[in-house]
């Protein structure tokens, strides 16, 4: 329950690329093969540990359909991290990345960490976008890149946790103004203690309580 930090994430990208499946795999550790269209936005949450600190991730999974675009835009500003997802078996979802990125950059705070995700890596036989292309795109736009599979859970944990790590590092560097909640970051009720020994015990408490969240 108690956490050192709380990060707000959004998941964006074309419809059908597997945004909801990524979230479901991350929060519930299961895969739903049937495509169930997301209406507007759905919420999910999970606790992770970085650098020995409990970090709560609150994730808003947005609808990919164009009709919901104006609604999902409202979520950019308050998010600390975004997972921008495309489908490696559908080139057009990769081609739309520029639009998504422009949209995100325009409406979010400048420090938002964006992780580029090529999903459905298990369907390698139907691949239309090479891994190198994803890497190149990420490099060009200063994003972190990863290929995942919501079906096999490959790299799903890593995608969410690495994004959190990036945000965490930015906090350590003092880039984020953590007192402004509009950035999508909240400090836990228990401030992370400076004394390392106390910090250890505090985190243990956090872990035991974490179960009921």
């Amino acid at each position: 329950m108690s956490y050192a930090y709380l990060f707000k994430y959004i998941i964006i990208g074309d419809t059908g690329v597997g945004k909801s499946c990524l979230l479901l795999q991350f929060t519930d550790k299961r895969f739903q093969p049937v495509h169930d269209l997301t209406i507007g936005v759905e919420f999910g949450a999970r606790m992770i540990t970085i650098d020995g600190k409990q970090i709560k991730l609150q994730i808003w999974d947005t609808a990919g359909q164009e009709a919901f675009r104006s609604i999902t835009r409202s979520y950019y500003r308050g998010a600390a991290g975004a997972l921008l997802v495309y489908d490696i078996t559908r080139r057009e979802t990769f081609n739309h990345l520029t639009t998504w990125l422009e949209d995100a950059r325009q409406h979010s705070n400048s420090n938002m960490v964006i992780m580029l995700i090529g999903n459905k890596s298990d369907l390698d036989s139907r691949r239309e976008v090479k891994k190198e292309e994803g890497e190149a795109f990420a490099r060009e736009h200063g994003l972190v890149f990863m290929e995942t599979s919501a079906r096999t859970a490959a790299n799903v944990e890593e995608a969410f946790i690495n994004t959190a790590k990036e945000i965490y590092e930015k906090i350590q560097e003092g880039v984020f103004d953590i007192n402004n909640e509009a950035n999508g970051i909240k400090i836990g009720q228990q401030l992370p203690p400076t004394n390392s020994s106390i910090s250890g015990s505090g985190n243990q408490g956090g872990q035991t309580n974490g179960g009921c969240c």
Binding site: M1, K8, G40, V41, E42, F43, G44, A45, Q58, W60, S70, I71, R73, S74, Y75, R77, G78, H107, E181, A182, K186, C212, C213
Partner: protein, 812 residues
């Protein structure tokens, strides 16, 4: 007003007070509007705006019709001057409001919906709304406040349209949320009202508002305002929370995951630390009422099952359930808070085993201690308690029993004869007491409560049959079921009592053949009562309901019938229906239940919602049972008369009949197999018996033959004996004599021959001996010659050797 009037005079340059010369309101407005649009001086425009604002209360239609465009123009081009902008916003607000001003009360042209019409005009250009939204960012108090008020009014009039506009304008919700941290309370409080309007119904807006940290903001305000002791602002905060949570799964999850349940939980712990009595001001009552609504919005039975369960678990673990139970048992709690708390506790425990257990273990602080359930049920069957309280107790009791076999068991257990007679009152006793009390409402409450103890629990249905009641001293005890039947048949039996008992009996008899048999064979003559009720000709909506319920119960008697009660088998009862009631009438009466208005009302929601006690008729769970069985029963009864077969088939639900279909197939296959096997067995048997017969025959012939054999043998011996008969012996003796003579003759001949040959033999022997002698002489001669030859130096080959050689050659 005088100031304004004189101001107007100077502005308009009129000096005359005379009626004829006084310009009409419309003319004045026209001039002012003209000035706002065309004057180049800001001061002039500002003054005109101020005057329009003043006039807008009395001449709303004139100002609105002529000035709206001008006012919008001010908003567009005079951004820099806060004063004129605030006048424009205020004027617009006056025009579009639905509120009627004192000044215009004598103006008949101002109809009720004039504000709405102007709202429509204003928002036709969606940019106008964006314009107002922009002014929310202006820090100046007057401007920001006016913008908030105008937006609230627009939202109130045209909620859906404005919501759509706000959804598509980027950052609009963010701007609105920022108002909540405005240090000026007036703005913050009005922003709350604005958000309450904004978050009505539209779940997308609700989610965005929640995403923009609404929960944190609102809880901060609640804390600053003193929690439940705070004023109306706290109530507004809670109303906003209710808007955000009701029917919004995503936000409910967010609320739970964000540990906000833990934040609201301590607010329910009032008065526990201090001993002083709680002061329940009307505002506090409203606040706590809202808090309970928030809790219920999270665990309402209409929510997603998963969300309900996880919230229920959190509510138990963070102590919220305990706090609620304390309110339940606390003293001095106002009645409507108590009622709502009972409802809330019900929903917090509904379907969650552990929470139900906690609830059943709550003890009331009485002496001797009673369980809270007992205390609550006592209020339920008490006529003097307010109706809403009694209803809430029934609801919470239903929630307690929902999917709670343990709870059902312990309730029925308290009624069983085996349980030892304790001094303490039990839930079961209370319900029995209520069932037979003089108050029809208590009858209804108790029968429904008892009915919920039986739902989907066949074992308890059977056990409850064992319950015996001592009605009047001296008379033998009667069973509960029997007693129910006799109450039904009393003339004094009221409508609600009948409905309650009929529902109880229906659930009791459903899926429990033992109970059906018991009902059919009981001396209280239930069936004839049912038939009489169904065929009665009362013309009243509620009478129809009773008839329908009776038809349903009779149908259940047919459906659950296993034909063990003589004279009341399936067919007997169907025959009764056909002959005494008539099929069409029966079907129509059965349908009366679902046609009754209370059916649709009760079937909607597990929670009981009625305006008055007399509206309490059907129950939610009963409606579910009825819905599931109505069709089956009518098909069953109709099917009987149509083709008399397939009766059992029709008594089954579609799933069951599918299953039956499968089994039928299997049985058919097996049948075929059995038939063919039977044929085979018959064949085998017949061939077997044939064979047996043949064996017998053969054995017979065999023994015959053996007999014959023996006979023949005997004959044979007999005949061989009879061969030496005296007739033949003389012939034979002659023959023997002749043969003996012959024999002698031959013997003498033989002796002659013998002599001859022995003579010859002697002669031959002599010859042989002579020859042998000669041979040995010759051999001696040969050896002599050989030796001579050897001595003379010639090699002589042996005869043997020569023989051998010639042998070898011959072989070759």
């Amino acid at each position: 007003m005088d100031f304004f009037k004189s101001g107007l005079k100077t502005v308009l340059g009129t000096s005359s007070d005379e009626g004829q010369d006084t310009p009409t309101g419309a003319e004045t407005v026209e001039k002012l509007v003209d000035r706002v649009t065309s004057s180049t001086l800001l001061d002039d425009r500002r003054d005109a705006c101020r005057a329009l604002k003043a006039l807008s209360r009395k001449y709303r239609i004139e100002v609105g019709a002529q000035g709206m465009q001008a006012l919008v123009q001010v908003l567009q081009s005079d951004r820099a001057d806060c004063e004129i902008v605030s006048y424009a916003l205020d004027t617009l607000c006056n025009i579009v409001t639905q509120e009627q001003f004192e000044e215009e009360s004598d103006n008949p042209t101002v109809s009720m919906n004039v504000g709405e019409q102007f709202t429509e005009m204003f928002i036709k250009q969606t940019e106008n709304v964006s314009l107002v939204l922009d002014y929310l960012e202006e820090y100046d108090f007057k401007v920001r406040w006016a913008a908030v008020k105008l937006l609230t009014t627009l939202l109130t009039n045209r909620t859906k349209d404005i919501q759509e506009i706000i959804l598509v304008s980027p950052m609009a919700v963010s701007k609105l949320m920022d108002l909540l941290i405005d240090s000026r309370e007036v703005i913050r409080n009005d922003a709350l009202l604005l958000l309450i309007q904004l978050t009505k119904i539209n779940s997308n807006i609700q989610k965005i508002v929640a995403f923009e940290n609404a929960f944190d903001r609102v809880f901060d305000i609640v804390r600053d305002e003193g929690f439940s002791d705070g004023g109306i602002v706290v109530e507004d905060c809670f109303i906003l929370l209710i808007n955000l949570l009701k029917h919004n799964t995503s936000n409910q999850q967010f609320f739970k995951e964000g540990s906000y349940i833990q934040k609201i939980s301590p607010m329910f712990k009032f008065g526990s630390s201090e001993n002083e009595e709680q002061v329940w001001t009307p505002q506090k009552v409203s606040n706590v009422h809202c808090m309970l609504q928030i809790v219920r919005s999270l665990v309402s039975p209409s929510n997603q099952q998963q969300v309900i369960l996880s919230c229920q678990k959190t509510m138990k673990s963070c102590g919220l359930l305990e706090a609620l139970c304390n309110i339940l048992m606390g003293s001095g709690v106002p009645a409507d808070i108590l009622t709502e708390t009972i409802n809330t506790v019900g929903e917090v425990v509904r379907g969650e085993t552990e929470n139900q257990l906690v609830f059943s273990n709550v003890m009331a602080p009485s002496n001797p201690p009673k369980s809270a359930l007992v205390v609550l049920l006592m209020s339920m069957i008490n006529e003097k308690q307010p109706l809403i309280l009694r209803i809430s107790v029934l609801y919470s009791f239903q929630c307690f029993l929902y999917k709670n076999e343990t709870g059902q068991n312990s309730l029925i257990q308290t009624l069983l004869p085996s349980s030892n007679a304790e001094a303490t009152i039990t839930t079961g006793q209370l319900l029995c007491g209520g069932l037979f009390s003089m108050d029809p409402l208590a009858n209804w409450f108790s029968s429904v409560a008892l009915m919920h103890g039986l739902i989907s629990n066949r074992e308890k249905k059977e056990q409850l049959l064992r319950v015996l009641l001592a009605t009047t001293p001296g008379s033998p005890p009667v069973s509960l079921l029997q007693q129910c039947c006799s109450i039904l048949q009393q003339n004094s039996c009221k409508l609600q009592t009948k409905v309650g008992i009929l529902m109880l009996l229906s659930v009791w008899l459903n899926d429990c053949p033992v109970a059906v048999n018991y009902f059919l064979s009981s001396p209280s003559n239930g069936v004839s009562y049912l038939i009489a009720e169904i065929s009665s000709n009362e013309q009243d909506e509620n009478e129809y309901l009773i008839q329908g319920l009776c038809a349903f119960l009779l149908g259940l008697c047919i459906q659950g019938n296993d034909n063990t009660v003589m004279g009341s088998g399936k067919e007997d009862l169907c025959q009764l229906v056909v002959k005494r009631i008539g099929l069409e009438i029966y079907t129509r009466k059965l349908g009366e239940v679902s046609r009754h208005e209370s059916y649709s009302r009760a079937g909607k929601n597990p929670q009981i919602r009625v305006d008055s006690g007399s509206d309490l008729l059907l129950d939610y769970e009963f409606c579910k049972v009825f819905k599931a069985l109505e069709h089956t029963i009518s098909a069953l009864v109709n099917g009987y008369s149509n083709n008399n077969t397939n009766m059992t088939e029709l008594t089954l639900s579609s799933e069951a009949s599918d299953l039956v279909g499968q089994y039928k197939g299997i049985i058919r296959d097996l049948d075929k197999e059995i038939k063919s096997l039977k044929v085979q067995v018959n064949d085998a048997n017949s061939s077997n018996s044939d064979l047996r017969q043949r064996i017998v025959e053969l054995e017979g012939t065999n023994s015959q033959l053996a007999d014959q054999n023996i006979l023949l043998k005997a004959q044979l011996t007999a005949s061989s004996i009879s061969n030496g008969s005296p007739n033949d012996s003389s012939v034979l003796n002659l023959e023997i004599g002749r043969l003996q003579q012959e024999n002698h003759l031959l013997q003498s001949k033989l002796a002659e021959e013998k002599d001859k040959t022995s003579l010859e033999m002697d002669k031959l022997r002599k010859d042989q001996e002579d020859l042998l002698e000669l041979l040995s002489d010759q051999e001696n001669k040969i050896t002599k010659l050989k030796n001579q030859l050897k001595a003379s130096g010639l090699t002589v080959e042996d005869d043997d050797e020569l023989d051998e050689e010639s042998d070898g050659i011959s072989i070759l």
